[in-house]
């Protein structure tokens, strides 16, 4: 991460603009690692000011994928704070990026939920349909699949 990912311009910009960053060494800061149940590196945590873990991930991330991780983490934090419009912006940045990554399916899932929570009730079905079309084999597709059944049932009732 230190050699390849952190020097990347988009990663630097996101970390500098949106986060305060620190790199504890796992075999030195043992108590801290134990506190947050981290026993593998890279162990990537996103905390709020009360040390609550808002999002976590493990393993090396190449730059473009890490940009997406940072935006998904930021979107998740905004979502958990109830700032749904800000969450929509962060998740959209990932889902609309031309560089593909496995995190785009996760971003589309939560983008739909954030749109729903912001008052755009139809946004949930539209966004999850995009998720099912673009990432049918992702871990997130089965969680959103019921939306098509629900939409079809609604159409039969009104049709």
């Amino acid at each position: 991460m230190g050699t390849v990912t952190y020097p990347h311009g988009g990663v630097e910009r996101r970390l500098s603009q949106f986060f305060v960053s620190v790199r504890p060494q796992i075999d030195v800061d043992k108590d801290l690692a134990k506190k947050f149940l981290v026993s593998w590196t890279p162990g990537l945590l996103f905390l709020d000011g009360q040390e609550g873990v808002q999002y976590r991930a493990f393993g090396f991330h190449p730059p473009e994928m890490f940009e997406h991780l940072l935006d998904v983490a930021r979107g998740t934090i905004e979502f958990n704070l109830g700032r749904y419009d800000e969450a929509v912006k962060a998740f959209s940045a990932v889902s609309e990026d031309k560089d593909p990554s496995p995190l785009q399916a996760e971003a589309l899932y939560w983008l739909g939920v954030a749109r729903y929570k912001s008052g755009d009730k139809e946004g949930l079905g539209k966004t999850w349909s995009q998720l099912l079309d673009r990432h049918p084999n992702s871990l997130w597709a089965p969680k959103a699949g019921f939306i098509r059944e629900k939409v079809a049932t609604g159409r039969r009732r009104t049709g």
């Binding site: 630097e12 305060v20 960053s21 504890p24 060494q25 800061d29 690692a33 590196t41 996103f46 905390l47």
Partner: protein
């Protein structure tokens, strides 16, 4: 734009609170 890494967790948490930003923690291994 260079990342301003904090030297330790305590100072990072304090800065995160004062700047009202989330804290990103990367546990790393030197090997």
């Amino acid at each position: 734009m260079t990342i301003a890494w904090e030297k330790d967790y305590g100072s990072a948490l304090a800065r995160a609170k004062s700047e009202n930003k989330p804290l990103f923690v990367d546990f790393f291994s030197p090997t």
